[in-house]
Symmetry: C2
Subunit: 246 residues, 2 copies
């Protein structure tokens, strides 16, 4: 019997990456789920969700990689308790306050929100590539979206293309690991609709930046998740304290 293709899937336990893992499975890949923690506020909850999703979709492996250095470097409100996770600003400005990398304060006027973890996706992709090369995987799935609400530079399609080149040059010549980004041209509502087709159990996913339970319902991540459910005409199965989309 021919061996299945194998893919490393970056699985945070959120709505998008869980949908991504189900999609990769649907495309015929055996899934090596890779979950990373980086001292973010909701680390434990996200880990439980990622593990449950990996189990439910029949992943062949579930690897957890702690990246505590992100919190020691500082600079992001997701990992730095000295910075505030702001409520979503519904006034039309789609991002929160800027990161002040000099760390003097957490206010500013730039376009990158303070939930930005410097160069996070490159770190995740590097780990995923090491994992993929060690396991002989054919592909890496990452759920980046070009139209990402938050303006993170490491979600741009040009960034992904550049990283593919780094993979091609930096791995053994007899490997051929493809970076697959099926959501790069989709918005969150389209991703969610795809997920419902695939039967993704969203009750085991977590998106809130701020709290473990219930979700706050007012940070950027909750806001855009709730908005996607509303636009898809579905109700979100997880519990919220507030709902900015009501």
């Amino acid at each position: 019997m021919a061996q299945n293709k194998k893919a490393v899937c970056l699985l945070s336990g959120g709505m998008d990456s869980s949908t991504l893992a189900y999609l990769a499975k649907d495309m015929g890949y055996d899934i090596c789920a890779l979950h990373t923690t980086y001292g973010q506020r909701t680390e434990k909850k996200e880990g439980q969700c990622a593990e449950k999703i990996a189990e439910l979709l029949g992943a062949v492996e579930f690897a957890v990689v702690p990246l505590d250095y992100f919190s020691s470097f500082g600079g992001s409100s997701l990992t730095d308790k000295g910075l505030t996770v702001h409520d979503h600003d519904n006034s039309g400005k789609s991002t929160g306050d800027a990161v002040d990398l000099s760390r003097d304060n957490d206010q500013g006027g730039e376009s990158i929100p303070n939930t930005y973890v410097p160069f996070r996706n490159a770190n995740l992709l590097s780990i995923a590539t090491s994992y993929a090369e060690a396991k002989g995987a054919d592909a890496i799935f990452i759920g980046v979206q070009a139209s990402d609400y938050s303006g993170y530079p490491d979600c741009r399609p040009e960034f992904i293309d550049a990283f593919q080149k780094v993979i091609d040059l930096g791995t053994s010549d007899d490997t051929d690991i493809k970076l697959i980004t099926p959501f790069v041209n989709l918005n969150k509502t389209e991703i969610l609709k795809k997920g419902f087709e695939l039967g993704v159990p969203y009750e085991y996913t977590w998106s809130c930046y701020r709290d473990d339970h219930p979700a706050c319902g007012s940070c950027d991540s909750c806001y855009f998740r709730l908005k996607a459910f509303k636009e898809a005409g579905r109700s979100d199965p997880i519990e919220y304290r507030n709902n900015l989309c009501d």
Copy 2:
């Protein structure tokens, strides 16, 4: 007073990276030394050397990042006790046995030695970039050599160029972090001669892949270090069990 330029220096504690850090300091940078551990056999000794070197050159920061996931992924004799660190083969074949990524055995006929840690440099550079962005550093120094004895794909100059592009695209638009590789066209003897000019205290550096103390003197890394000292007409201040270059 104008603020000094700041650089993140990847400092393993070996001969090359210690020389690199002294060179960066000599070029006028304040040094944020970044040392990573990845479950390699000589982890403790390398860490002590790196810390001592950072202290002696007056680094403004010394960060240690544990990357234990490399050993959990497997595939390298540096981290996997089930594989053997081979003696240097002096017959003209400059590399050891190949990595068998399928892990069935540690023998093979490929050109990548089994000390290869899959995609390690991309991981190191990603961490260094996150650190540099969080600290507002201007540069990252890495001691890769084009003529690297070991055939690691992630030491190629094309790999470094591709990674620079990833940094440019994946970090905030108001940053300008340059990847600096002063040794890319030097061999180990030339690096060592440079180090003697700079006063690098080589007694506090460690290169052996196999042992903590004394150095084995027969692995690839010991062999090429000893060869460089011999060619530079100097004696190596650290202690060896054997010396393949005698």
